[in-house]
């Protein structure tokens, strides 16, 4: 049991192809990997995989945003970050090569929004910078540098001058960084 040898039915496969940006090979590979993750849990097909299991994947293991990614893509009612197969496909689709800039920037915004309130305020930005600059003392920014950095960021991107960055402002900034599309990618 556990679904390690179950094949994906053809109609499901074409539906997944229609509704996500993934190609057939990518969907089959995702199915294989997801079945392996499930296999260890011995649950029925179609059940969710807990966040800890998902985070053992090599592509997510060392990613600084791994927990946020699981929370954002999870549709579980218990808000525990567990992923069903469709959530997993959503994740791969948003991070795939052919996803549009809009999808990527939408999900990037949600990943960076640590407190899930729909905007990036100073606290979110501080957590974002700390996530990306490492934990050791010599790489961490001092409080003064952090303050200066956040005010620079807000000056650069807060168009309506309300002290936070909302989705439209974030997408505007993203459209000016041509490196974003090629770096916001996870490939199995």
């Amino acid at each position: 049991m556990g679904g390690t040898s179950s094949k994906l039915p053809k109609d499901l496969l074409s539906e997944y192809q229609e509704l996500t940006f993934l190609t057939k090979q990518e969907i089959l590979l995702a199915h294989k990997i997801f079945s392996e993750l499930q296999g260890r849990e011995n649950g029925p097909y179609g059940s969710r995989v807990s966040m800890e299991k998902v985070l053992t994947l090599p592509e997510l293991k060392s990613n600084p945003f791994r927990k946020r990614i699981c929370h954002v893509f999870s549709t579980s009612d218990m808000k525990d970050g567990s992923l069903s197969f469709e959530d997993f496909l959503d994740l791969l689709s948003a991070f795939s090569d052919s996803a549009t800039l809009e999808i990527k920037s939408h999900y990037a915004f949600r990943i960076f929004d640590f407190d899930d309130d729909g905007t990036l305020d100073g606290r979110d930005l501080e957590k974002l910078v700390n996530c990306l600059t490492g934990e050791t003392d010599d790489t961490r920014l001092t409080a003064e540098e952090m303050r200066q950095l956040i005010s620079n960021i807000l000056e650069e991107s807060d168009i309506d001058k309300d002290g936070t960055v909302n989705l439209s402002e974030f997408q505007h900034v993203i459209s000016r960084s041509p490196d974003f599309v090629s770096s916001f990618k996870i490939v199995l």
Binding site: E18, L19, T20, F21, T23, K24, Q25, E59, S62, P64, F73, T75, E86, D87, D90, S93, T100, E102, I103, H106, R110, D113, D116, D117, G118, T119, L128, V129, L132, T133, G134, T139, R140, L141, E145, Q148, L149, N152, I153, E155, E156, S157, I159, D160, K161, D162, T164, N166, L167, S168, I174, R176, S177, P178, D179, F180, S183, K185, I186, V187
Partner: protein, 671 residues
Amino acid sequence: MRRMSVFPQHGRALGNLGLSANEIQQEVENKTSELVSDLVNLSARARFQAIRSLPMAFDERKRMRNRVNSVKHSKTIIPANCRQQVSRSFRRFRAGLASAHRYLTIWHDTLKDIGGRFGTSVLSYFLFLKWLLKFNLFSLIINFCFITIPQIVHAPNISSVTGFRGLELLTGVGHFNQTVLYYGGYNGEVIASKPVYNMQLAYFFTIAAYLVLCGVSLIYSMSRSFQKNFVLETGPVSGGAWRLLCSWDFSVVNEKAIQYNKNNLAVQLKESLSERLQEKDKMSLSDRIKHLSLNILAWLISLGLAVGCSAGIYFLGTDQELAFSFNHNPNDLTAEASTLLLPVVVSLINLIVPLLYSLISKMESYSNPRAKIYIIIVRNIVLKMSILGILCSYWLNIVPEKVSCWESFVGQSVYRLLIFDFIFCLFGIFYGEFLLNVIGTTCIQSLGVPEFDIARNVLDLIYAQTLAWIGIYFSPLLPVIQVLKLFIIFYLKKISLSMNCQPPKHSGRAAQIQTVFIALLFFPSFVGALSMVSFTVWSLKPSDECGPFQGLDTPFHTIFNWTASIQGPPETNWVWWIFENVLRSELFYYLISLIILVITYFLWQITQGRKQLIKILRQQIVNEGKDKAFLLNKMQNLQKQRRESVSYSPQDYDQTPHFNPNWMNTLPLDM
């Protein structure tokens, strides 16, 4: 396209407005039905793409798609069945093509691995290499099919064949001399087969078609890259902090690499912060003069080095004994070996002088680290192009008078240069990267592991490709060497990268540097090679004893002969007419240039107008923000009054307005 993207989870933010649950549901339902009606009106393909792009969870997308399909089916009339089947099969065919294309791309896993461990900027070097490989493979295939095979099949007449000695691989002469490797191995006869195959025209048109296709492809890539990467930069000072944050590379999976990237990012952020602070204190006048004079001195030294090297190569090349002794005594081994001196010197210069340039640039200081990279690139390009320019002018002006089969001579020189460039590249990998790594880790710890210098490696690739393009006319099978070379270099660089190097520290703006590299590949490199080949074809007299254009005044006269031959029969007369009166008249080109200039001026004016518009729109957004704040205040007051006035009646509020001071940011801007 209307976006439902603002609400992180449907309608939750609306709860902060103090609306009841029913009103929220109504609002969400309205938005959904508007979205569905938008989607129904799109074409099938656009609809699929739009549904995929909806930022919702999978189940909700499925529900949306089912709703759209049911609306669509209730609207359509009957014979859609056939159309639907055709469009469905077409879609499946396209998907099949896309997956087949994946099988054909070589090195897919290797490139993914490199990107995962070293990031996208190092990956861009390898992608550039792959792109150049495609150019050379294409050239190889068409040259082989259209020129070489007919020549081989038609029994080439080789005058003297010397035995194969090992030295040929390096010098390209001897056994290879009269083979189809070089221009001299072809003769311009008209092969009398069923459709008459004119070797002269075939040679000319194959090379011309290939160069034109290269040019078009380069211009297309350049313009697309420019459009993507040099977007309009208006608005407040772009300090680059966002750029750094948003370019976090999610595809890197190696833990050490991620830690490395984090450290780099921290360093870059601190640097950009200190830069911003520094901009505020202006430099004193004496400091500025000092910096300026240092810059000028550095430029003078660099240009002096470039000129000196070019002069040295010129004198070395025109040294009578050295250059032409081999042609006078074809069987003398030492004379043959002496032809190797020039390529060795050129490759040594290409190896050493860029290192000198980077040393010189260390003594200067630039306000902008990006300017530093660009200036180094410019200096290296000046060096390489001046060397190539001297060599070309020597080949085109002096050689035709001295040597009988001069095109083969030029082909052999290019062959030698390419081979030695390859050998020195191997030396560079071994000594440059491997030894430096060993020294850096064991002996002199402060040096550290060498960085993978993307700019220098890409410039080497561009130099080699320029040589290949120059050599195509003189040696049609030269792309073989280039293809083999690129293959081997790919694998060697990958191994060297994993073993010896670390990724570069300043990896920002990778996309813009890519555009610069493509532009460099087009402007001095391709245009230079094209102009040299055009000059040869247009004005130089081809050699009399060998080659397909023997006996003509210039190779271009084949076209004249051909058009004269088709002038007679009336059905091909129009080709001759077009050629004679349109392509050969100067008025045509003046008119075209004028029209292009006018169009460019109009487009530039449109750009200016759009910049104005952006400024105005920004101001409008700021004003709307203020309006929203005002309205929020008013609504707060009204609600307070409403609550107070009904606080006596026993209505249960299932939702007391939980006031989130930032609620107005959760509203879409277009509301």
